[in-house]
Amino acid sequence: MTAPFLSLRDVFAAYGPAEVLFDLSFDLAEGEIAALMGRNGMGKTTTIRSICRLQRLTHGAIHLDGHDITRLDAHEAARLGLGLVPEGRRCFAPLTVEENLVVAARPGHWDLARVTDLFPRLGERLGQRAGSLSGGEQQMLAIGRALMTNPRLLLLDEATEGLAPLIRQEIWAAIEAVARGGGLTTLVVDKSLAELRGLASRAIVLEKGRKVFDGAMGDLTTDLCERYLGV
């Protein structure tokens, strides 16, 4: 059996006295696409932040491709191949689209030409300031910027939150092309159950900071969805 690409073991995390994650463990195999699900405030973003080393663990360990990244700083973990698309788009507003894309580019498959092929709208707006883009375009830019670092694990936190349906479709199509088409290991957090079912082969469900389901997306029954996702 091959070692998991990403491994979380007995992870606990807290914001000051408020504990958020409790004994969270799961693995991701290389090339696997998993959805991290749960209602608001259940610890999804904290899990993503913990993997990216933006959140200190109170206990536990995280390994990426055999490297113990538990004590690494966020920039060191990112250089090992973590690509984060953070919640709320968060582009560098005064920089142009091109500058946002090249600021942290690393050599590899994804370059400016490939990213603008994936998101032609960005190609049309390379010289425009990121702050003047629409919400959907900013989200495309956030995904493009993460891809330009040529990650080995892509983490998408609420990638389509607050976007118009047409734009959401465009972004989901791009995510699918990147994750499934490119064989990129992907952990995605989103509230759109239908899209997650279409993309991810596996579901991990969190409830009050604890893992309550970890299995094939097809095994996520209506009853579980109602109980833990409120849908």
């Binding site: 966020a74 920039h75 953070p86 560098f92 005064p94 920089l95 600021v103 942290a104 910027r145």
Partner: protein
Amino acid sequence: MIRERYLNLALLAALLAVPVLAQVQGAPFTITLATKIAIFALAAVGLNLALGLGGLVSFGHAAFFGVGGYVIGILASHARNYEPFLTWPVEVAGTTQMLVLWPLAVLVAALVAAAIGALSLRTSGIFFIMITLAFAQMLYYFAVSWPTYGGEDGLPFYLRGDFPGLNTMDPISFFGLCYALLLVALWLFHRLHRARFGLALEGARQNPERVQALGIRPFQVRLLAFILSGAITGLAGALYADLNRFVSPAMLGWQTSGELIVLIILGGVGRLCGPVAGAGLFFLLEHWLGGLSEFWQFWFGLILLCVVLFARGGLIGALAKDQTHD
């Protein structure tokens, strides 16, 4: 942007034209004033790198300005006295060669910036401002209590350094040197601004966590920017010492740090020629208002207040009709 580019070219052309015309008309004071503007613009270009691009509000850049000045002053005075600067472990003589003194001033200022930056960049906001101020004041009081090099009275060294093929005591020649170095610093700022380093620095100013998640260490980027910034300001300090043929603890004082910040705010924070516009406006107003009233600082303060309130992009922003931070 295009409007700002023309404005920048016009400013730099004016800064060159005024002393040339003054030379023709035999007005050395105007040349000295233009030289002072060029030197302080250079110092502010250094600070603009840290403050304008990196958002590092350093209230201690006088430290680098003064250190650059003292490197020139100390080595020049040793050269004039024919006393070695060091006798152990090797004998090091003083020098008056600008081509030796400038790199030394830059190097020493960069080393001081590295030491100050390594400690102060672990803090942010008001703490960063206070720590940089504290370091500069430490150096100020050290200079005041260092009698070997003049202490509170400062250190005169009578003649400017030597530059191959130029009479540096000729005001227009010395202006030419200062202007050329200002152009080099502006070119460097322009290149850095749009290079990945400058983009990362701006990114770190906006959101250090976001930059970290992209694999960039904000501390490292900021430290490098702070060192470059200190080095450029140190070079300006060296030129200022040469201009006056005198160096004193006042160059290290907090008023100098404040002046450099004022120049950038007046001209436009983060803008390429903001420091040039700021220095020009500051010294022309000082000269003009100083002739009208003994309390010129009061009127100057009012003008500064208007710029902060109504022209957030500084003079360049107002003239280029672009209030955004560039």
